[in-house]
């Protein structure tokens, strides 16, 4: 479940944790720059905190639409050749990556 306590927005930016979550390898320069930039962006976002939003329903989908559904039919035929051709590495019909350790 979601942690409902809101952390203090003034806290330091957990740049390493974020870079890890986002799978972005950052060098030292980038790390420092992004940490600083993000701190400023977060400051800018703080304006949201000062506004009273009590009782306001979040708006996730702009206009009150509902999803159109699709009939259960097979419409995609074997396109694997074209797709595998675009793979950085493929073999025997598989996409290949370095051995994943579970």
């Amino acid at each position: 479940m979601r942690v409902s306590d809101t952390r203090h927005p003034g806290a330091a930016i957990p740049i390493d944790a974020l870079a890890r979550l986002a799978r972005l390898a950052l060098d030292d320069d980038e790390r420092a720059r992004h940490e600083a930039d993000l701190a400023r962006v977060v400051e800018m976002m703080a304006a949201l905190a000062s506004h009273d939003v009590a009782g306001v329903e979040p708006l996730a989908h702009a206009l009150d639409a509902t999803a159109t559904l699709r009939e259960d039919a097979v419409t995609e035929t074997d396109a694997s050749a074209a797709l595998l051709a675009r793979a950085p590495e493929a073999q025997g019909g598989y996409f290949i990556v370095p051995r994943v350790v579970e």
Binding site: R2, V3, S4, D5, T6, R7, P9, I13, I15, A17, L18, A19, L21, A22, R23, L24, A25, L26, E30, R33, H34, D37, L38, R40, V41, V42, M44, M45, A46, A47, L48, A49, H51, V53, V56, E57, P58, L59, A60, H61, A62, L63, A65, A67, T68, R70, A79, A82, L83, R86, A87, P88, E89, F95, V97, P98, R99, V100, V101
Partner: protein
Amino acid sequence: MSAGGGTSGPDRDLASLAADLAARATSARALAEASSRCAAALQPRLNALITATPELASSAADQVDAGRPGALAGIPYVVKDNYCTSGIRTTCGSRMLAGFSPTFDATVVARLHAAGALMIGKANLDEFAMGSSNENSHFGPVRNPWNLDCVPGGSSGGSAALVAAGAVPFAIGSDTGGSVRQPAAFCGVTGIKPTYGKASRLGLVAYASSLDQPGVLARGAADCARVLAVIAGHDPLDATSSTAPVGDYVAAAARGVQGLRIGVVEEFFGAGVDAAVADRCREALAALERAGARLVPVRLPSLPLSIPAYYVLAPAEASSNLARFDGVRYGHRSSRAGTIEELISNSRAEGFGPEVKRRILAGTYVLSAGYYDAYYRRAQQVRRLIANDFARAFEHCDLLAGPTTPTVAFRLGEKQADPLAMYAADVNTVAVNLAGLPAISLPAGFEAGLPVGLQLVARAHDESALFAAGGALQRETDWHLRRPPGASA
């Protein structure tokens, strides 16, 4: 310095071009070739294209000349390079997709093709549509045809520049926070973002899915109307696509503004807006008054919150949308990869530019455990407040008006040091995306030789009102007919 050319593109409005084609005063092939040549000649100065497709355009042109019909038959155009074009390189302005070609056409592209339009190339853009200046492209910045030292705006910079320079009569862009309207304003062309869901997003590489919309840039409102009529309409393959009917936009552009109430939004003329820009916009509004519209003052009190709300929501969605780029199944794969973890992290580090990384990190932050309620959820609540503000304003008027941007086009490099400065300038455009409403930017005079844009916003699905106003303004004024100095007449 401005974009001179000896090579002229098909610089006429769509109705005239269609008439010429029908009368055989010109051929589709001639138009395609002229357009391709013009774009190629401009390339060293503007850098507006990432991929040129002259042969494709010519062979499609031949089909038109052989009798293939279509609402836009024989008309050359460019499409922003974040639209999938089957078998044709689609880079999104990124190293991540520098060598990538999709296996299908975006619905918008397919509809244009079915209408006989001729794609002459893929236009340069800010990487993954993230930016307001087209300085964030892996393929280099685009320059403004009005002043080569200035930005054309972004993220649809290439699209706007080529229309402004007369290489193509229309272009397709995408607009998430202003990326069609702001470059239209900076480049002196007309740019429309329709209602969210109006045009299909299938094949438009997602930046922020709940905000993205295809848009049209052209010389005038009537031409935008003509093109939007072709690309708009329900797509069952896009679950967010609207089933609301498509209006008769071309007719709307001709109908005039008698009795139309235009709300002049106080917050759109806020403190950051350049005085000259504000003046030009008021002059444009006066012209609309002369044409029969009524101006009323109106407020959007939540407008200042739209920047923090947008810069929480858009990066959040982007951080998730861009997670698919991992070097595994397509796109750039790092050669420095021993383990799977390294492969993913290094491919992404190498493939993405700094602005994209900045937004992915910000988006990851606002969605992460402990921050979701304070930022993401709160931004969604503010989003509803903004939508409510618009709804209230539209109780008193049919259109809302204000400057599209606070300034005219700034110089290349001027805002690179401070990303926040760039963000803040989007204040008049992002609110529209948050509320899902349609809006248009119309040429409204000049300041220091650079174009000014007037933005009009309409109720959901009332693009017709935008075209009516645009058409009326462009019958009263001729700013939309001006060309960059040295460009083809």
